[in-house]
């Protein structure tokens, strides 16, 4: 009986999180279009609903009703599986994120490790998409994407080691609790910078949006995709932005913990911090040009790798000597 009740509660939580996340992800596209539009002195979506507020829904309906094209020479099975392979990990990662002190789907004692592991699955979907499309642009885009994501995952992982050493746990809740006094971003500014750059590369955002560098590779790995399959890639990209921003909030900005003299519920703090980080993601997109493939790799291996290693060494040294 108790197991059944727990299962029901868990299912409800999953449904709530999935529903909220899907909606937020859809509105993230609206937010991005609006913010970039205003930076670029234009209005952005204005037609569907008040100030275009229903635009994401209209987009969804459009993509849903579109003809689903599978190229003749594509590997059909892989072609269909690829978008699912990209989208599912992006949503699975939400299962361990602590949205507030009481609201989360589950607590895993290796929470952050779970996120890193699942997020690296997404690259399979991208490679599969590029290969199955049987198109040169897709293939080049997928190869670039795979190389980029694999390299930057390393820095992403290493940059988290600093805060994890301070927290002494992989459990997301415990990491947040450890930041009750001071957010880790003040102890670990270097780690945060590396993490943020790696997160940009990991989510294929400007200035690291090479896989979909539309001027060279048309649309990269999803060139041949249309309709709902395309929407899956699109949603996965924004879902990944949300996840990486959430990880940043949890590990560097004290998660749902706010400033004590401003009484706001935990999830509001969480949402505020998340929004601020996502805003920076969008702001960068409107500001920066794009790196070249070899420059991206050089930046990663020759600059960020030593930096993040030095950070781990320093953290260890300080912790050993003073704590």
């Amino acid at each position: 009986m108790e197991i059944a009740a727990e299962a029901v509660i868990a299912l409800v939580k999953i449904a709530v999180v999935l529903g909220v996340v899907s909606l937020v992800v859809a509105y993230l596209t609206y937010l991005e279009r609006k913010i970039i539009a205003h930076i670029q002195q234009r209005l952005g979506p204005m037609r569907v609903g008040w100030h275009g507020l229903l635009q994401p829904i209209a987009d969804g309906v459009k993509l849903f009703l579109k003809e689903d094209i599978i190229p003749d020479k594509a590997d059909k099975v892989v072609f269909v599986i690829a978008p699912i392979m990209v989208l599912v990990p992006a949503f699975v990662e939400y299962s361990v994120l602590p949205f507030s002190s009481t609201f989360y789907i589950t607590q895993v004692n290796i929470g952050i490790f779970f996120i890193l592991a699942v997020s690296s699955l997404g690259v399979f979907g991208i490679v599969m998409a590029g290969w199955a499309s049987n198109s040169k642009y897709s293939l080049l885009g997928a190869l670039r994407s795979a190389a980029q994501m694999l390299s930057y995952e390393i820095f992403l992982g290493f940059s988290l080691i600093g805060p994890l050493m301070l927290a002494g746990s992989l459990n997301m809740q415990k990491i947040v609790e450890a930041q009750s006094d001071v957010w880790f971003v003040f102890y670990q500014p270097l780690a945060f910078v590396v993490f943020f750059i790696a997160a940009l590369a990991e989510t294929n955002r400007v200035p690291f949006d090479l896989p979909e560098a539309e001027t060279e590779l048309v649309a990269g790995f999803h060139t041949e995709y249309s309709g709902m399959k395309f929407a899956f890639f699109f949603l996965a990209e924004y879902a990944n932005i949300m996840v990486t921003s959430s990880v940043a909030v949890t590990l560097f900005f004290g998660g749902w913990k706010g400033i004590s003299w401003i009484p706001l519920p935990g999830f509001v703090w969480y949402a505020l911090k998340l929004g601020a980080i996502i805003f920076v993601f969008i702001w960068l997109r409107a500001t920066l040009p794009r790196y070249r493939y070899d420059q991206l790799m050089r930046l990663g291996w020759k600059f960020m790798f030593p930096l993040v290693m030095a950070n781990i060494f320093l953290t260890g040294l300080v912790k050993y000597l003073f704590l």
Binding site: I36, K136, A213, T215, R285, R290, Y293
Partner: protein, 380 residues
């Protein structure tokens, strides 16, 4: 065009899997080839080992049309050559015909021609900067440039009634004097524009990523540039101070004070800097034209039927893209015997292969952007 089939397979060794060179098609329907340029690239990994341009998708036989219609009727056709800077093409044609006649054009017409030609240079350079930056991924510059380009197009509309294919000039001067509103708006634009150039530069000039993407990319030496007879900002980017506005002045340029900017290294970045500075100098020229604009007629006495004396003439002007010239042979009748266009984009595009070999695919779009081609006059 090189062979696409066979012979591309290179067997490295029995242990390594065989690798193949990839042939990739950019255009004519590719997001980054400007207009309908088709570039066929042969890639080894991401390195370009061969490059071939396929042009002619916009060929309309403009030169042949010119032989069958009168000198006046040909002016609107020149709009469609360099359609980004239509007044410049007009100017090249009318000055070539006027040179054949030896007409004296009133000073006011000269000044207005220079003024409008500089506006067309700004409009062309803005479009170039917008697309070039977009090719390298800077999206905001694109829309900021279009905001100012819109103002220039509005100016054209005020004076000549059209926005893109501005049929601005007539043989012997102008069709009619420009309205005062045009001059007022021009002054407004000239006062506002230098600040806006500063805006673009804050986003690009010192941007680390922009520098990495453009510095040392697509380098061409001054000697090579001259050998390939490149002209315009592409030549000046390599450090050759050659500008027809200075070398063989036409219109009001002898009376105007401006600097011809040159680069040092001949890379994409220097060509960018040269064009940015040219926009500043164009604004200076506009300010001077407005300040010095003389009163008087805007056209000399033009006969009803235009029959130039038999003979031949070559006249070129400094188009935003380079040397834009007309070679004209007249047999004394109402239609030219031969019209030959010297298109800057076509000649500059000839340098593309030299610039891209050994570079990466990502550099190709940066380099095509930095050459600044317009297919209208390239294909004619």
């Amino acid at each position: 065009m090189f062979e696409v089939e066979s012979s591309t397979r290179i067997e490295r060794s029995s242990v390594m899997p065989g690798t193949e060179e990839l042939i990739i098609n950019m255009g004519p329907q590719h997001p980054s080839t400007h207009g309908v340029l088709r570039v066929i690239l042969r890639l080894d990994g991401e390195t370009v080992t061969d490059c071939d341009c396929d042009i002619g998708f916009l060929h309309r036989g403009t030169e042949k049309i010119g032989e069958n219609i009168t000198y006046t009727m040909f002016i609107p056709y020149t709009d469609r050559l360099d359609y980004i800077a239509a007044p410049s093409s007009n100017l090249a044609w009318v000055t070539a015909v006027e040179k054949l006649f030896g007409w004296e054009i009133p000073m006011r017409a000269h000044y207005i021609r220079s003024l409008v030609a500089e506006f067309s240079r700004i409009s062309s350079h803005l479009l170039w900067l917008a697309t070039h930056a977009l090719d390298i991924g800077a999206m905001t510059v694109f829309l900021w440039c279009f905001r100012e380009r819109e103002m220039v197009l509005d100016l054209f509309e005020t004076a000549f009634g059209a926005r893109l294919t501005v049929n601005a000039f007539r043989l012997g001067g102008l069709f009619q004097d420009v309205p005062q509103k045009f001059l007022d708006l021009s002054q407004e634009f000239a006062d506002l524009f230098p600040g806006r150039i500063g805006d673009y530069e804050t986003l690009l000039t010192d941007n680390r990523i922009w520098l990495q993407r453009t510095r040392g990319i697509g380098v061409i030496s001054a000697d090579d540039a001259i050998d390939l007879s490149l002209t315009g900002p592409v030549l000046r980017g390599s450090g050759v101070r050659w500008d027809i506005r200075r070398a063989e002045p036409y219109a009001a340029y002898p009376y105007l004070d401006f600097v011809v900017p040159v680069g040092e290294n001949g890379d994409v970045y220097d060509r960018y800097l040269v064009r940015i500075e040219e926009m500043r100098q164009s604004t200076r020229i506009i300010q001077q034209c407005l300040a010095q604009l003389p009163k008087g007629p805007v056209s000399c006495k033009v006969p009803r039927t235009i029959k130039p004396p038999a003979g031949e003439v070559y006249h070129s002007i400094e188009n935003p893209k380079g040397e834009f010239g007309f070679y004209l042979v007249s047999d004394g009748s109402e239609t030219p015997y031969r019209v030959r266009i010297r298109p800057p984009s076509f000649v500059n595009l000839g340098g593309l292969k030299k610039l891209v070999l050994g570079g990466l695919v990502a550099d190709v779009v940066a380099i095509i952007g930095s050459i600044d081609i317009v297919l209208g006059e390239c294909d004619r």
